[in-house]
Amino acid sequence: MNVLVYLVPLALALGGLGLAAFLWALKNGQFDDLDGAAWRAISDDDLPEDER
């Protein structure tokens, strides 16, 4: 059962990492325009001049 000592915190940490990533994405506006993101993914003109 000693394995729990690090497995449980590890599970929580991984979950927490996922949560943090989700909150970051939300704050960054990644979910603001889901329709547009779908189209941008297949856009073929990814030139370096693009800065947002």
Partner: protein
């Protein structure tokens, strides 16, 4: 389009030296549009960046402050083929967006908590609970995750419940809060007492599913709201400004200054406060004063923004231009579109009001009953909590609003905006559909057919007179004449306009009203499907033949509607013209040459024969009929007065939104009834089981969530599966303003910046096959 526009109201300053503006862009619906717009704007000197949001059909443009004039951006977008309309984003959006993001954050946290607690619970079920030390450890770990998670993610419910209790009432969130808090508290006690089971997992699972439902609802409402805001940005008030030279130009209300002279035509809403300079008319002030009788105005009389000019054209000296009208309009639209208090909502509300006390009483009775049977207070409380959770009245509460939100959203996407609360429900009851012909079945923009036969002087005179009229036929003459200088004239609804000009009495209007039957006969013979307008001068008369093509999809739409409803055409136009259209559309019943009162009589006859009529019409003369019909729809191109009477407006050149509205409304009503039955049956089965103690809190949470999900999924069917139609409807939403040929010419001057697909996909001409994918 060269008039100076003052857009400073719309410009934000996100950083030093940077200016930004938010625009609603019309006709953006795919990746090629994104590339065209963003690249096209970046090529403009001074522009720092442009970002298209496809979901809300908006563009945010940033530029170096002072480097360019904001109107240049509009011109640039117009040149790219995308008419754009500025709007003040922050004022309207931020609260809604914050609420939505908060729900999503709570949902993420709840999902994280539920996931981890479930991990521990499953280990316990799998056998880790044999050893009491590790069982206690797992319970404590669950508590460690569950308590902070619930404290954070449950806030939307706790706050709402607290608000309700402070107002001395109960809402759906009260039993939810009670259930969650009791389940957590009970689990803590079990953990402290080294008991075998705890219910942290149930509480978090419940929160997660409830948050998911609430987030979806909020998102649906925001998207609907976005669309309404876009619509009112596109429809933002404009006024016709008269310049010193006598020229008339339509421009946004923001560009009108006190002291300017504007023209208010008959049937239009007046956009400014001011005083009548010349002209006589009657004004409907009911929106402003509540007084329903029209008020007569003459030179010197004050007029107010928001009132409707009924009979004659007026020149108005502006005292103050309206400023807050945009927001007010948005809020009005939203209040009406989203707060749909149909009788089904009222039924659900009443049920919910009854339901909450009943739930609490049932839980309490269960607790007391089991206590009396001697199972011990812990077991009794546990069963009572189960009852609370399982009856969380979500399914019942969602049953109707979910369907309404989905149906309203589906209609919005198809280019139909609901004006009145019960319109959806009344649409579902419709049995007969009555169309006006002019501007409804036919294209709203008629053209002059016999320009070659008319003397140029007559045409010029007719154009100047026609400027004073809102009738769609008058606009064709204005266009053909290229008229800019109006003559102050009085409009007689359904008949024409009259004026005295250089001492001569002039009339422009219907053949009968102008008494020109003799002159009209040969023209009518030459143009059998055209409407005739007569310019009556003292000694002679000129006859104009104005004709309109059918809307591109009129035949398919009428055929589809006719499958389930009676279709009729009631028109004020002449018999042969109406007969031709009726024959083309395959409509058996039509009446021509009707006055507004005749249309109302026919609608009343239908109503009393229990054939509830839907009236579709657009003109000044249809307004009374629209108000009298069981339910009514107007095209967005309709006169303001007709729009004010209609229950719904549809956008664009196509008639398809009318058929969509009927189909979706019927489906929505069916789904509402289904949902009410589903939730009733669920409660009838689940509640007795819970009261009898056969259900654990986890199963209760799953059953409750399951029923809510079932009801929500069922509601989603109101969206109806024709996704391809969505795009068509959005294309549809492009206003008719840029003439087709002009649009092509402008687009092709765009240095080929658009990828090949851009114009292939964009409908510069109406799609000829609206019936595609029609099969159900």
């Amino acid at each position: 389009m060269t008039e100076a526009q003052d857009l400073s109201h719309f410009v934000r300053r996100p950083a030093d030296g940077v200016a930004a503006m938010d625009l609603v862009v019309d006709g953006v619906y795919c990746g090629a549009c994104i590339a065209t717009i963003e690249k096209g704007l970046r090529r403009q000197a001074g522009v720092r960046g442009a970002r298209v949001n496809l979901a809300s059909r908006r563009v945010t443009v940033e530029w170096n402050e002072g480097a360019l004039d904001p109107p240049v951006i509009l011109e640039r977008l117009e040149a790219l083929g995308y008419p754009a309309y500025p709007f003040a984003a922050e004022t309207v959006d931020s609260v809604e967006i914050q609420a939505e993001k908060r729900l999503l954050r709570c949902l993420g946290v709840a999902a994280f908590g539920a996931m981890n607690v479930m991990l521990l619970s499953i280990s316990l079920w799998a056998g880790a609970d044999k050893d009491s030390a590790s069982r206690d450890l797992f319970h404590w770990l669950s508590a460690l995750v569950a308590l902070p998670t619930a404290a954070y993610a449950g806030q939307p419910f706790f706050e709402s419940a607290a608000r309700a209790l402070r107002a001395r009432s109960v809402n759906m969130d009260v039993p939810i809060t009670l259930g969650v808090v009791l389940a957590l508290g009970m689990s803590m006690l079990q953990t402290l007492a080294h008991e075998r089971v705890a219910y942290f997992d149930s509480a978090l699972m419940l929160l997660m599913f409830l948050l998911a439902g609430r987030y979806l609802d909020q998102r649906m409402r925001r998207r609907t709201r976005d669309f309404a805001i876009n619509l009112s940005a596109i429809r933002a008030d404009r006024a016709v400004k008269l310049f010193d030279g006598g020229e008339a130009r339509e421009m946004p209300i923001a560009a009108i200054r006190p002291g300017d002279l504007v023209l208010a035509r008959a049937g239009e809403r007046i956009a400014v406060d001011g005083a009548v300079e010349d002209g006589r008319s009657e004004i409907d002030q009911s929106l402003v004063t509540g007084e329903t009788a029209p008020v007569e105005v003459s030179p010197g009389a004050p007029v107010y923004a928001g009132t409707v000019n009924l009979t004659g054209a007026l020149r108005v000296r502006v005292r103050s231009a309206a400023s807050g009208t945009f927001l007010e309009e948005v809020n009005g639209l939203l209040a009406q579109a989203l707060e749909q208090r149909s009788s089904y909502v009222r039924l659900a509300d009443r049920a919910a009001q009854l339901y909450v006390p009943v739930v609490h009483a049932a839980a309490l009775a269960t607790f007391v009953g089991w206590l009396a049977l001697g199972v011990g207070w812990q077991q009794a409380l546990l069963i009572a909590i189960t009852v609370l959770i399982i009856t969380c009245p979500c399914a019942l509460g969602l049953a109707v609003p979910a369907v309404q939100a989905v149906a309203a959203g589906a209609l919005f996407r198809r280019g139909l905006i609901l004006h009145s609360g019960e319109a959806l429900e009344r649409l579902a009851e419709v049995e007969a559909v009555v169309f006006d012909k002019t501007g409804t079945l036919t294209e709203p923009r008629p053209t002059l057919a016999n320009a070659a036969d008319i003397a140029p002087d007559d045409l010029r005179l007719a154009g100047a007179l026609a400027l004073a009229s809102r009738h769609p036929l008058a606009k064709a003459i204005v266009e053909a004449a290229g008229a800019k200088e109006p003559i102050a004239a009085e409009e007689f609804p359904g008949e024409g306009v009259a004026a005295v000009w250089r001492g001569e009495r002039l009339k422009l209007g219907s053949v009968a009203w102008c008494g020109a039957e003799a002159e009209a006969a040969p023209v009518a013979a030459a143009w059998p499907d055209a409407s005739l307008i007569v310019l009556r001068m003292p000694e002679r008369a000129a006859v104009f033949a104005v004709r309109q093509g059918l809307r591109s999809d009129a035949r398919a739409v009428v055929a589809e509607i006719a499958k389930r409803h009676e279709v009729e055409i009631l028109s004020g136009d002449r018999e042969p013209a109406v007969a031709l259209v009726a024959r083309e559309l395959g409509v058996m019943r039509y009446e021509a040459g009707l006055k507004p009162a005749d249309k109302i009589a026919r609608l009343k006859a239908l109503e009393s024969a229990v054939r509830r009529p839907l009236m579709v019409g657009d003109g000044l003369n249809d307004a009374p009929a629209l108000a009298a019909a069981h339910v009514s729809i107007s095209p967005i191109s309709a006169a303001h007065i007709a729009q004010a009477q209609a229950d719904a407006l549809f956008l664009g050149e196509r008639l398809m939104p009318v058929a969509d509205a009927l189909r979706i409304a019927a489906k929505a009503r069916r789904l509402m009834v289904e949902n009410l039955w589903l939730s009733a049956v669920y409660n009838l089965i689940a509640v007795p089981l819970a009261v009898l103690g056969f259900v654990t809190p986890l199963v209760a949470a799953l059953a409750m969530s399951g029923s809510s999900v079932l009801v929500t999924l069922n509601a989603l069917r109101a969206r109806d599966a024709r996704i391809r139609m969505t795009n068509l409807a959005m294309r549809n939403a492009r206003p008719p303003s840029p003439p087709v040929g002009e649009g092509v010419a402008r687009s092709s001057t765009d240095e080929g910046s658009a990828p090949n697909g851009a114009f292939g996909g964009r409908p510069l001409t109406p799609d000829p096959s609206p019936a595609r994918g029609e099969g159900r």
